[in-house]
């Protein structure tokens, strides 16, 4: 059960032009920095990327947008990226915006073998167009389908060769859900530890969901909004 690969370049080898990728992270928090860089380097194109956000102009998925490697984005919020907005408004980039909770639940559903579920989110809005509406307890809900991807790419704090993952703080976000949903899931970790070092009770993502794992390098972990209070 040794799922280790050498680095990001080796991990993404199977990713081909035109594939659908899921990428963990919320804003720039918990994004798979190494794999994004490797994808920029590889020049893989025509990608459909499922990720809550689209990075900022010069970091995260913004790097792939700059190079026009992304054909379509599936996200919930893209407000921090001018290049994204430009490509979208000009029609160069296809965009599917979906409610954040539905995005999370659709990934989880895919990983869980649940093909579809009902949610109240988006009823009566553009998001509901073309979707089945059904009432439960007198309240309208829409049918949402599981969302899967050829590859899911997630980033954890610690992991072991079995693929077990532990996330730190709010860098967890979509990562465990996308890890479940990918047909193949790549995990990059800040620290690769020996099996048994992670307490089985506190593993966030059991290794069964992971196919490739490696210890990343040079994490920048950029902060989007550095808000502090003065020491008094």
């Amino acid at each position: 059960m040794d799922k280790r690969v050498k680095n990001a370049n080796e991990a993404i080898k199977g990713i081909k032009d035109g594939m659908t990728l899921m990428l963990g992270g919320f804003g720039l928090c918990g994004i798979p920095e190494n794999c994004i860089s490797a994808l920029v380097e590889a020049g893989t194109t025509n990608l459909t990327c499922i990720s809550n956000n689209a990075g900022v102009d010069d970091f995260g998925l913004g790097l792939l947008l700059q190079k026009r490697q992304i054909k379509k984005m599936i996200s919930s919020y893209v407000g921090e990226n001018d290049e994204f907005e430009r490509q979208m408004l000009s029609g160069e980039l296809e965009v599917d915006l979906i409610p954040q909770g539905s995005l999370a639940a659709r990934c989880q559903a895919a990983g869980s073998g649940v093909p579809a579920f009902y949610t109240p989110a988006g009823y009566g809005t553009e998001v509901a167009e073309g979707k089945e509406v059904r009432y439960f307890n007198g309240k309208p809900h829409i049918l949402e389908h599981a969302l899967t991807a050829d590859f899911a790419i997630v980033k954890a704090w610690k992991g072991d060769r079995y693929g077990n993952l532990f996330f730190k703080g709010t860098a967890r976000n979509f990562n465990p859900l996308m890890a479940m949903a990918g047909k193949i899931t790549i995990a990059e970790v800040e620290e690769l530890v020996e099996p048994g070092e992670l307490d089985p009770n506190t593993i966030h993502t059991p290794g069964i969901f992971i196919q490739h794992i490696f210890q990343g390098v040079n994490y920048e972990k950029r902060i989007e909004q550095r808000t502090v209070r003065p020491r008094t």
Partner: protein, 217 residues
């Protein structure tokens, strides 16, 4: 007339002991600074933290600990961290007692629009559609009029909706208004603001019954 801080202070008066609260980006975020004495509430941020504390001290900021506005935050003792599915389980499952968010437009039936201006601006709905579709108690915090002076309290939203008939209360720089079956009901005036000024700034149906007290901030 209130400034943004004033709006936050007024909404803070709505907080009740033991409530779990989700605060949106912008004015709502400020509310955390004005929790009334003697009550205890917990803040949930939809990116996956409950028991969010104030901004960290300079030098203590952690890239792995942010709120939904991507700002560095801290975790209070008793905080918990979870994935996005669990976070929206809390929201969709109605485990949160109060949701406060900003808006571009609110209609007098409780419709809200805050995620898109067709052809001009698309930020995305983020977690707002889940929040407004699920929460029982939604307060909108916003300016009464937009930058061009036009009312944001309308008969009908002109922008794409975020949710239908969901807003319960609106607190603006001019007034506190409840959403009722017959439209906006004026509850309080901002200090120094007359009923007439509020009427002039409100395009949607406005109900004014009896004497309207001035807010106490």
């Amino acid at each position: 007339m209130l400034d943004k801080t004033g709006i936050a202070k007024r909404i803070a008066q709505e907080l009740q002991d033991g409530w779990y609260v989700n605060l949106g980006i912008g004015i709502p975020t400020l509310i955390a600074n004005y929790i009334p004495q003697g009550i205890s509430v917990e803040f949930q941020s939809e990116n996956g933290i409950l028991g969010m504390g104030p901004f960290p001290f300079e030098g203590d900021e952690d890239a792995d600990l942010i709120n939904a506005g991507k700002q560095t935050v801290t975790a209070m003792p008793g905080a918990s961290i979870f994935d996005s599915a669990t976070s929206f389980a809390m929201i969709r499952g109605q485990h949160i007692q109060l949701t406060v968010l900003g808006a571009m437009e609110v209609a007098d039936n409780g419709d809200i629009a805050n995620w898109k201006i067709p052809g001009r601006m698309v930020k995305g709905m983020g977690g707002a559609m889940d929040l407004v579709a699920s929460a029982d108690n939604i307060i909108v915090a916003m300016m009464h009029t937009n930058k061009r002076g036009a009312s944001k309290l309308l008969k009908r939203c002109s922008l794409p909706l975020t949710g239908v008939a969901c807003v319960k209360k609106v607190v603006t720089n001019l007034a506190v208004l409840d959403i009722t079956p017959n439209g906006f009901k004026l509850i309080e005036r901002a200090p120094g603001v007359s009923v007439e000024e509020i009427q002039n700034a409100t395009e949607g149906r406005l109900i004014v019954e009896g004497d309207i007290p001035e807010m106490k901030i």
